[in-house]
Symmetry: C2
Subunit: 228 residues, 2 copies
């Protein structure tokens, strides 16, 4: 294909989401959500990260690997708009794009070294499926990337929307201790598609190797069971 | 190649830089610098832009098409660090990356329609070479993308650095009137590579079909000639 570019993963990110359901809609919404970036053997060179510790935040360009399609659609239906309003694909961050590349801003927490995986980056505020291919990592440069004057349409109205979460202690204790805060925050972010309002329905979020079952009534989410 | 992704341009951007020399180091540094995004025939569908006018800023993912290499280097020498300090490629925004994809934030100024080019986007604050292939356009979502708490290493120290520009009126009048402000601002941004300090040297910046010649002494840049 003329002018086409062949892109390959430089790394993969490990997260607690083996399933799409429940992943926050944007990076940074759930600061407690951690990820570990493990480089491919070809790119496992600590020199490539020299100086990265001086930046607090990073951009991840990633492959929407679960959303590849043979053709593209000019419009998409953002789930946060009820799933029935069509918006131009270039006016959304939908995974279903002509080139399925995503963009997330994460916080750099730690740089670790191990014999098995080489140098890895521990990041927080992720919104990615486990094993998502990472195509590039760039430093977040505040003076260029942070634009306080920017205004943002419907996406901005979701900013402060959260559910109240009732997670009974005996159930919460089934979730690994270091994952509880993130699990609660992901539930508060309302994992339901398209503002479904069926109070009888039991949803399940797979997170950190637990299946967390819940119902939602009004603005309250109640956890009804946890399978480990 | 396993897991490789084939990416093709959805558009090209037209700017006043036919040459790399003088392009601002980051998007947004020169707000007066305009660009016109013209879609490829396959993607020239106004529906794909539906709702984009509600966003003030956009992300452009683009192909660093002048910086393709057959192999990658783990470190680069950022020109702003004098060109002799090596930094890990993932700690920089250098064009010489394993996957040569760039990221710029631009302001959406206007949406125009023409029989010849279809629907085009007029954007400002660009830092791109004329005809750069655009791979994706995403809305800038302030609550996810603007991180006022982020800190940014050496790149941040350049934030307020500007040269004083002396551009004699008879010479300035040779530059098209609507391009003068941008030309002045690009010169103030110091186009010299690697902090070169040779006061005798005459540099030339090609901008808006003019060759602008200048010297720099201390913190002052003086335009010595303009060829049109």
């Amino acid at each position: 294909m003329e002018n086409a570019l062949l892109i390959r993963p430089v790394a993969h990110i490990r997260t607690d989401f083996s399933d799409k359901f429940g992943i926050p809609r944007q990076s940074g919404r759930v600061p407690a959500l951690m990820g570990k970036i493990v480089f491919e053997p070809e790119f496992r060179d600590p020199d490539a990260l020299r100086g990265i510790e001086e930046f607090s935040h990073l951009w991840l360009l990633f492959d929407f690997s679960q959303s590849h399609r043979d053709s593209w659609s000019p419009t998409v239906r953002p789930p946060r708009l009820g799933g029935n309003k069509r918006i131009g694909v270039f006016a959304t961050r939908s995974p279903f794009r002509p080139n399925p590349i995503g963009l997330s801003c994460v916080k750099l927490e730690k740089i670790e070294h191990s014999a098995k995986e080489g140098t890895v980056l521990i990041v927080s505020g992720v919104d990615l499926l486990d094993n998502t291919p990472i195509l590039d990592i760039k430093p977040y440069i505040p003076y260029a990337d942070c634009r306080p004057e920017a205004t943002g349409s419907f996406a901005e109205e979701q900013k402060d929307y959260r559910l109240e979460v009732k997670f009974p202690s005996p159930l919460l204790e089934l979730v690994p201790e270091d994952k509880r805060e993130a699990a609660m925050a992901c539930l508060a972010d309302d994992p339901r598609p398209s503002y479904q309002q069926d109070e009888e329905r039991v949803y399940s979020m797979r997170f950190a190797e637990c299946d967390i079952h819940f119902t939602v009534s009004g603005n309250t989410l109640t956890v009804t069971g946890v399978d480990v």
